[in-house]
Subunit: 708 residues, 2 copies
């Protein structure tokens, strides 16, 4: 199917505006690269000062070219770019790559010029890459386009890559060539004024030749759209991403639990995770995964067989696999017997299979075939340490023969880089990935396994919650937002309003009554029924228990009245008496498991939902998982699985298990709530007490902050 | 000073027993390597079937050699090795390297032969490497010894390495050559029958030419001796180790908290950590650190300056540094001003300093000098992405000039491996380490910083505890061990005996009285004073609270009696009534912070001490740090710092801070206890309640298991 990206990747003719006669300059290199890459159509240099550029007849302007031009590459000083864009429109080009810098990245003035360029090209139906980029590359035989100034021309292959850093792009193409990663298309997206990585994802989604998509990202233009697209694309093919800027300074000040628990990078992790994108920490790991996924089948599971000719590396590989969540199961008895038939007595036929140093290429071939046929194994990692007796190249060929056509991935590790033979180097591209160290192989494999699990994971749905009453909640928010008395950080809702908003979304709190005096409190307690809890009512003090503002399990009127006095005197001691509006008398909730649900606001991604084990020590343990909204039922279920304290939900040490269904339901209701009510910038339900199965959850305490 | 290792590394003459005429065989390669490495003395081939070996006159036996032989390398079939050892003794050699395999590694019979060999060489004052090894290498000019069959001869340098895997040894020498790591000595220690890595550590300790020691270990021969030696050596020079076998199957079944919290690998981490050894996960990281520490000064602190010519890699480097515990502080105002003087307006003079793509080699030199002179910076990471305008080799030379003689480490990253110029490759050995990716540089640097901190850390002392009463505790253990009734896993002491043992070491428990009936319990409670806690007394049920066997805060005789009945009926419901011996009535301890101290037994390392936040959820949070004994005061103090829940000890949310001195004291007392009483194989004090500063700690509950 035709894509608007075709104008960029598959032009019939190309012009380089600003092409220099001199190699070594950016525009000279781009022109040279374009005419050297095997492109089938004509490449026209545009240069008002030269009749010939690098032995090719030149034209003084784009419009002076007598033939049609599909793609224009602009490498002119920034001041000349707008005029060149006008020429592109006039000439009827379909794609533009703007290498020139000095636009959106420099500030508002540059941004204005860039916006005007975008307006023009969009009106003319032109797609634009850049400005401020390194260019693009397409390695397809018929359309070999190297519209970049990269000194390296990567091998053709199945990896599509988008990079937000031009400088890294150079290094990336270089590294890809070195380790033999085949590239289908590469784009340096620069300022992403028109073409973004989202557009490229949609392009590669339908490109059969592209099997793996790599992204280097520094920020998200439109995270919602990214998530929507990536979630769809990852069902078909893997996306592997490095997102930098993880520890950027400038953390938001946040007063609540959830805010301080969410690191800057949590939202990025949540978005990528919920979209099924594999995130790696480093570029090296990015390519390690790509090398595997571009050339080998996705593993069906996490069971690895290790085949080696030396014990030490076998142990290291086992360590690396198991510490990354993979397992080394025993092989089937048949496989062990068959291995025993031809391996020496000193060899170990148990996983990891150690054929010892005398192993020949033929042993590798036979053993690998047997292991690939074993139903207890989902993938095989083959390690070779070159001893004197066996040639690495023979072993490489044996692995290639044994692995050919297998439905399980085979990874290799020829330990010590000098030992990697030519036979393997050539295989790498087309067939079997090779790593210098077993750990790199294990890390790449564990990511591929995770991708396989993602593909099998049910997509999940964002459920329709018929019983929620958005209008009821909106009314509260509207009144409160209008009530003034808000500081610049927004306004915390009163307890009664919090209760009303949560009730509108079907999240119940225990019976509570506000009381201004000890007498009123005792009366309220008798109405509610004992035991009760007393909680400080204050619009200014957020952590009540820190100031002695929580009293639990009061069993009669006398203790309620005494509790009220005690709380007041504690606040007086601290000089906080004026901030005590009164108390909330609350039905005492005993037993159950304390969890929490929180919402914090990320400036780029919007609301972030957190879930974890609750209670006063929530900030000590920081046991919380985050997701962006909207949550699907599957997302919510996974949140329960992923907290460290999950044992507590399972009925720990004699306690009944938590009502999982009710917890998931509560998470989905909060997700809907923040979706409906964008005014809410912070929300904490802590503790949300989960009772036994079928008995539901109770929001024992909750706070909501709305925007100023 | 002379070392017995000199016989191995610095012989005046060498014989190869079993030297083959044929290259391509192990013994042929060893002989070839020895005569090709530039060794100044004679190398004699011993071969009863050949008069000449590889153009050198051969001898039928070791004793037939007319000249003295210092070092003999044995490469004969295993059956001939004992006889060859006899010859070595007869000939008066000083060192032997036994390449031949088939000894201790094959089982008891082989072990017996090996032991006999060791007896003989020790009686004769000979040092032996192996058997079952790859050999050894010394690169010193005067003693160039390559007594190995490694195909690669590593460059001479300052890294000493011991490898327990011969196969990995081959790969290691290969890799060292590829990345330009200079080796001083390399030893494949094989079965470590005589020479162990401990011996090598002591050798390298006093070798000025060896600046960094690398270890690849699969197990510890004598962990106590290792710790003692390594702790001393790391004060002088860094030891970096890979210890494999991390996830080995066969975890011990352990019923207590501490046992199940301690992973298999925890003891190794503890030993290496307490000895100041830097542990890396992979061989690649091992060499990354070695490259830095062998060539650059140890960083004085964690403040890194990053200098780059491209934004993306600068961000990635900052991420990598900060996520590894390093910091990128602002530069001093003077440095920023001085940078601004010659950098273009678009450059960023703030850390990370981005000189943008136009940066010349001269800019690199000037900027690096300024950054190295800045007092706010402890090290500089220089990143270069090769643009078209600047040659990488010129930049490399500029870095070398600017960094020469600096007292702060300089690391470089020439992004994209092909981009690393020859000028840098040569520098690597002698001067500035280079990494392909900024992350690798950051990881290596963070380890070097950790090493610097270790060197500055006070050594600490194991305090003399004058008031402990080992005899009092030993008496209890002796009676109980003799009392029979133990199962194969050992025997849990009764509550009263636990109390007695802890009291002997100055660790106090609250007042407790055993009661067999509800009436007795009420009487005991009145004696102790209210409130009290009731705890199940049972020699078989270990987790009391799981079966309703703990009742807290009982305030009068009536509730004590009722509590007793309730506990009994709960056990009856579970069919456990017969296992209830009675109850322990205990003074109720309120307030304070619940911590725990535990001891578990590691088969190799002996007692492992754990400390963490206590309470019933200790296994959920797994917040525990481990150390091997004996603990120094500094070790104990660090344990408090290193738990995740350390906030709780600092006076969290209004609570008073914990009595740190008392916690440290309790840890040191438990360390002394397990040192004195090796019969104790498991101990749990949980909770150990820490009260406010000066108020001490109370062991509210404790269990001790002694060996069967």
């Amino acid at each position: 199917m035709a894509s608007s990206m075709d104008a960029l990747f598959r032009p019939r003719s190309i012009a380089v505006v600003g092409a220099s006669r001199h190699r070594g300059s950016v525009s000279g290199e781009i022109f040279h690269n374009l005419i050297s890459a095997g492109f089938q159509g004509p490449v026209f240099p545009v240069n008002p000062k030269a009749a010939v550029v690098q032995s090719v007849r030149a034209y003084p302007s784009l419009v002076a070219i007598p033939d049609p031009v599909d793609l224009a590459v602009l490498v002119v000083p920034k001041g000349e770019v707008p005029h060149a864009i006008d020429d592109c429109v006039a000439k009827g080009v379909k794609g533009v790559v703007v290498i020139s810098a000095g636009f959106g990245e420099t500030g508002p003035a540059g941004k204005a010029v860039q916006d005007e360029m975008v307006r023009k090209i969009r009106a003319a139906g032109i797609r634009m890459v850049g400005p401020n980029c390194l260019g693009l590359v397409n390695t397809e035989g018929n359309f070999s386009v190297n519209a970049s100034f990269a000194p390296t021309w990567p091998p053709a292959g199945h990896v599509g890559m988008s990079s937000q850093s031009g400088a890294l792009g150079l290094a990336i193409l270089d590294y890809a060539q070195e380790i033999g990663i085949g590239i289908s298309q590469f784009v340096s997206v620069g300022n992403k004024a028109d073409v973004s990585s989202n557009d490229l994802l949609e392009f590669w989604e339908n490109e059969e030749n592209t099997r793996v998509i790599l992204l280097y990202m520094e920020n998200f233009g439109n995270p919602q759209r990214f998530m929507q697209i990536a979630r769809r694309v990852t069902r078909k093919k893997p996306i592997v991403a490095v997102k930098s800027g993880r520890t950027e300074a400038g953390a938001r000040a946040a007063s609540s639990h959830t805010g301080s628990l969410a690191g800057l990078d949590i939202a990025v992790d949540a978005v990528l995770g919920q979209a099924g994108v594999l995130r790696t920490d480093t570029l090296e790991e990015l390519f390690d995964v790509a090398m595997l996924l571009a050339n080998q089948p996705v593993p069906a599971g996490k069971r690895v067989g290790v085949l080696t000719n030396a014990g030490g590396p076998g142990i290291m590989a086992s360590d690396a696999c198991e510490s990354r969540g993979l397992v080394l199961p025993p092989l089937s008895a048949e496989t062990e017997t068959a291995l025993r038939e031809f391996l020496p007595a000193e060899a170990s036929v148990k996983n990891p299979v150690d054929m010892i140093a005398s192993a020949s290429a033929a042993s590798y071939e036979r053993a690998l075939k047997l292991m690939l046929a074993d139903e207890k194994i989902d993938s095989v990692l083959v390690i070779f340490v070159p001893p004197i007796v066996t040639e690495a190249s023979e072993v490489a060929s044996a692995i290639r023969r044994a692995g050919a056509g297998a439905t399980k991935p085979v990874l290799t590790c020829f330990l010590g880089k000098h030992g990697v033979p030519a036979a393997l180097s050539s295989m790498r591209e087309g067939k079997f990935p090779s790593y210098a160290f077993p750990e790199s192989a294990a890390i790449a494999l564990s990511r591929a396994v995770r991708y396989g699990e993602w593909q099998k994971r049910p997509e999940g749905v964002v459920p329709v919650l018929a019983d929620v009453q958005p209008e009821r909640a909106r009314k509260v928010i509207a009144t409160q937002a209008a009530a003034g008395n808000a500081d610049p950080h927004g306004r915390w809702l009163d307890a009664e309003h919090v209760r009303e908003v949560l009730a509108a979304y079907g999240i119940n709190m225990p019976r509570t009554v506000f009381a201004a005096t000890g007498e009123e409190a005792a009366r309220a307690a008798s109405e509610i029924g004992y035991p009760v809890a007393l909680k400080l009512a204050s619009s200014t003090i957020t952590h009540k228990s820190d100031v002695g503002g929580v009293m639990l399990d009061l069993t009669d009127a006398k203790s309620v009245a005494a509790g009220f006095s005690l709380m007041r005197s504690r606040l007086e001691e601290r000089g906080l008496a004026a901030q005590m509006d009164g108390v909330i008398v609350q039905q005492m909730i005993k037993g159950g498991i304390e969890t929490f649900i929180g919402v914090t606001h990320d400036p780029t991604f919007g609301p972030l939902l957190g879930f974890g084990i609750g209670g006063v020590n929530v900030e000590v343990w920081k046991d919380v998982v985050f997701r962006v909204h909207p949550l699907t039922d599957v997302d919510a279920g996974e949140m329960l699985e992923q907290i460290r304290g999950r044992k507590l939900l399972e009925g720990y040490r004699g306690a009944p298990p938590a009502d999982r269904a009710a917890l998931i339901d509560a998470l989905l209701r909060v997700s809907r709530l923040v979706d409906d009510l964008p005014e809410i910038c912070e929300l904490d339900i802590n503790p949300l007490v989960a009772r036994g199965p079928g008995q539901g959850v109770v929001a024992v305490d909750a706070r909501i902050r709305i925007k100023a």
